[in-house]
Structure formats: C-alpha cells, structure tokens
Symmetry: C2
Subunit: 126 residues, 2 copies
DNA sequence: CCAGCCGTGCTAGATTTATAGCATTAGGAT
DNA sequence: ATCCTAATGCTATAAATCTAGCACGGCTGG
C-alpha cells in the first residue's frame, strides 16, 4: 500500500509522463516549466525506474520512458485522492465543479454520453 | 504563476488541512498515515506559514491552522491540474470517469442537479 | 505556592533530494 | 579510418527537507 509519495521533482516528472504517455528525457525536460539540467532529469528518471514507478524502452537509439503503472489505475487513484481531499464526502460537488468548469468545451456527443451515465445511475439507485 | 510546489510532507499536510478545513498540529499529525514526530509537524506548519500557504488562529490556548488560500480557488486549481495531467484535452472523459466511479453514492437530488448542469451546457453550446 | 502538563519557539544535525560534470559508447558523415 | 554529435551511466557535491530535542511560558490541581 503505502502509496510511496513523490518528491517535488519526481511528482513533476511523473505528471509529464502521464500527460504525454511516453517521452524521452529531453521531452520530459522540455515539458517542465522551470527545467533543471538534462542530467538532473535523467538522474530522476533513473531513480524513478529503480523504484518501479517508470520503465523505459530503447527506441531509435533513445530511451523512451513511460509510467510503469496502468494509466487507468493511476487515473482512478488520482481522482479518488482529489475527491477525498477537496470534496470530502460529497462526490456530487466534485462532479458539479468539474462539469461547470468545462461545460463550454463539451460537445453535444459528450453531453449525450454523460446523460446516459446519469440515466444509468438512476436505474441503479432505484 | 509557478504554482509553488510542495515537498512530500508539505503536500501531505496541506491535503489534511484542505480535507479538514482547519486543524491543530496534533490533529494534522493524527491524519497522516505514517506520521512523523509532533515536533516535525509543527516545524512544517511554521515554514508553511512563513511561505504564506497556511495561517493560524489562537483558539482555546491552541493554534488552529488552516489553508491561507481560498478553498474554492484551491479546488479549481487541483481539478484543472488533474484534468491536464490525466485527461489531457478530454474533460468529458474526466467527468465520465468521476461520475462512474461514484455513481452509487449519488442521491436522486444530486442527479437532478447534474441534469440541470448538463441541460445548461446544451443551451450554451447551441 | 509549585509541580506537572500542554502547548509553543528555536536550533542543530541527519537524511533525502537535486544538480552538474565527466567518462564512455554508438552512429553517421567526410 | 577518424571525427563529430548525441546519447547513456556514474559519482561527487550542493541544497533542501525532515527530524528530534531542549528551553520557555501559561494553566491547573493539589
């Protein structure tokens, strides 16, 4: 369990990897707002790999790094953590906040799908 | 901008404060899974206060700490960060994931409110 | 009164994180 | 073949985090 927490830089790097899916050391560095040296990024990637949070493949003479954990699982964990700390006990508020923050970016099709989910929830809750 | 990053412990402590709203040093310590010494928690709270992330009130002879930032703003920031890193470019997926993860905990009234939000989004998107 | 119990402030030290620089290897071009 | 570029592995050191312990002050009960 223990959810091995990350240091500041490690957290930044893991976030980049989750966002990009996979990336070289240089790409990771480029995606960090206040980037440290290339060397430092590589060192962090190595230690993250040692700890089992990241893995790499050799690709075109380069190393391409990616999160070791199943992305879906990581997403669920992040969601749960966020709901627990910022919307404790009221997931509905979380959904509402998320929805209203992005309402203008949602397509009609998106809204249809959400509609379906809500209808399903009503079915279950009956 | 720069989103002043926290160290591992600082992050843990801030999360507890957001979850509880306000808490004494002892309560913060109790809420941390693998707690450091009471002294260490106090030291962290002090440095967090120096940096302006936390403030305290004297209450019943004790210090009660709370986040300095507007909780609503912090929530919005956390949501945006999560969507950006785990659901880049597809907020709809994020909403869907959140919704299906908690569908069983939502009351009929909750669902009504979400319904309203979706309807509003349709209006706007027209 | 005064001893014991909280609570705080502070400082010094251990531990972890973060960084840079150097050595080495592989490929591609001249 | 040899040089140049671009990548990796490693190690030493700088910087920040994390921690514990001690000193002090105020309340409270005997």
């Amino acid at each position: 369990m223990s959810a091995a927490p990350f240091s500041r830089r490690e957290r930044q790097i893991m976030d980049v990897l989750f966002r990009l899916g996979k990336a070289t050391a240089a790409q990771v560095r480029a995606a960090i707002p206040d980037p440290p040296s290339y060397s430092a990024v590589r060192a962090h990637l190595r230690t993250l790999e040692d700890k089992g949070h990241v893995r790499h493949k050799a690709e075109e003479l380069r190393y391409v790094y990616m999160p070791a954990q199943n992305p879906e699982k990581a997403r669920r964990g992040a969601l749960r953590h966020l709901v627990d700390t910022f919307f404790p006990g009221s997931p509905a508020t979380a959904v509402a906040a998320l929805l209203s923050a992005h309402s203008s970016e949602l397509s009609g099709r998106d809204l249809d799908e959400l509609q379906t989910l809500i209808d399903q929830a009503r079915e279950e809750g009956r």
